[in-house]
Symmetry: C2
Subunit: 341 residues, 2 copies
Amino acid sequence: MVVAKRPTIYDVAERAGVSKSLVSLVLRDSPRVSEEKREAVLAAVADLNYTPSRLAAGLAGTRTRSVGVVIDDFSNLWFVEALAGLRSELAAGGYTLSVADSSLNAHLGLDPIEAFRALRVDGLVLAGEASADAVTRSGVPAVVLGVRALSAELPELPVIDSDETAGGHLAVQHLASLGHRRIACVSGPGASAGQRERGYAEAMRELGLEPSIARAPDTGEAAAREVARELLAAGSRGAAGRSGSNPTAVFAVNDPMATGVIGAARELGLAVPGDLSVVGYDDSPLAAYGLVSLTTISGDPRELGEAAGRALVARLEGDASRIESRSFTPRLVQRGSAAEV
Amino acid sequence: MVVAKRPTIYDVAERAGVSKSLVSLVLRDSPRVSEEKREAVLAAVADLNYTPSRLAAGLAGTRTRSVGVVIDDFSNLWFVEALAGLRSELAAGGYTLSVADSSLNAHLGLDPIEAFRALRVDGLVLAGEASADAVTRSGVPAVVLGVRALSAELPELPVIDSDETAGGHLAVQHLASLGHRRIACVSGPGASAGQRERGYAEAMRELGLEPSIARAPDTGEAAAREVARELLAAGSRGAAGRSGSNPTAVFAVNDPMATGVIGAARELGLAVPGDLSVVGYDDSPLAAYGLVSLTTISGDPRELGEAAGRALVARLEGDASRIESRSFTPRLVQRGSAAEV
DNA sequence: TTGTAGGCGTTATCAG
DNA sequence: CTGATAACGCCTACAA
């Protein structure tokens, strides 16, 4: 095999017997080219195994048709779903997207915003921690997806998010409607947990009930299990005796934590949902497992991603009108972990 | 704020009172620049809020210092971990990486390999389905990470993977060492499942035991639960009566499936590990949950990612020696789902 | 160490 | 629809 140089647009033009300009037009499928020429060009492209250089195109053109997405944690399924929604909308708008995991890159000392700027992206989606300063300095159109904390620092950016406080309300209302009155909340650090926890507290007070919040040191299953063990055993006299002040239901701010609570309950010999009802948050795949069967709150991340994508595309396509921020209301997904008291 | 044009290397040079060449040298931190000049340049860069264009750099230079990673399924934690390992090694080599989800892009009709070629990446990591044809045509140095199936079509590429057949052996050996003899396997479609299943079958025969494989239509929790229900109830006379031909242990080819098996067991009133021992595969976070406490096989994806990264960097840095393929041996992670018979 | 010239592969513009 | 030509921002010699 000959180690030929990469074919360029010139080679394609020559082979197809047309001008370089025409090739460029065909590649960007302009409507004003004859079918005949178009096919000739396409054939030449195939023959030469030609792939246009996005580097050159980006350099020469007025934009790159690419957007950067800053994500916090790849291992969080929420982001993955949101990403899928984003991608589908951005693709529809003709944009390519590249992702950066902020926690990972921070570890490597590289600011993702800076990296995207070097790539000359046309737009930015902020779905993870990001230096507000870097964002404004970059001067690139951006939307915030999900992360409330960020929008506080960047009030001028549109925010697409899920109303997590409403989600907390939802959980409490469901539990209360099942007759529960001693409803505890197992929470943890972080903005999301905070919102959900706040919704819980508000809803409890509205119902005239006393909020009772147990905060774990992190938002993982193990930490929640630890905290729940204490919460559920408190005031009990032996394995079988629980005092009348123990909660009959708990709202955990995410599904792994809810699973931890169920685990603790089982350890203590409590049946779920017989002796204890549990509601989680996020509707992760885990929640649908037979072993867990978790009633939970779903925020539909994919829908959020799509909305963010549409918003950004509109902005990028020159729609000068200001993008509306938008907050989606989560819904309850009933499974088997919550029952009447 | 003035809407100034993006600063270029020329602007930086002028502001720092040096030549454009010198700026270029400083940016790529060449050793042959005086400390004085270097600082002047850096100051100018900061003043102007300058970020060099990777587009221009890539176009002008002989390489882009970027590599493309083709991934199958972002929601699979395995990839996430492998990606982290990859990134750390590639970053150490001065490479940037961009990822593409092959299933997602396929859905959009865009070949990820083609996309990477358009970006002029220097190398490729194949950790998901990819058109073998597109890969060879691209002529870009590549390594295969994990995906055995691919390496069959692209025998000339080095493969870094986990020996999943050995993993299957490991599971059986552990169970057998606990005294189990009727060990079933709950498997599913796909190359990985196939390897694990094969290891299981081989190990069983080596021990003089009869393999018994139940294949679910997909590799999810629900499908496994369904299959396990039948497997465990077969030959039983009522909920409590199991015949002597029922398995006392099962090896599931991944953790969600193992969780499904445990779920089915519980439904049938069987205690785990009292009445049934279960071993999973992958050591997903789920496996460590109190509710599950799964004994499982771990392949250490991060280690694989690092190895792949190192291999690719070596290749890219001109190390003409052929890269060795490498297969890592998984290990057993003991938790609470397997006990003596 | 610095400066200069040429080129990388496209897009954009405009006159044919 | 065609051709020609000028950017685009940087790298890579090579010469000073």
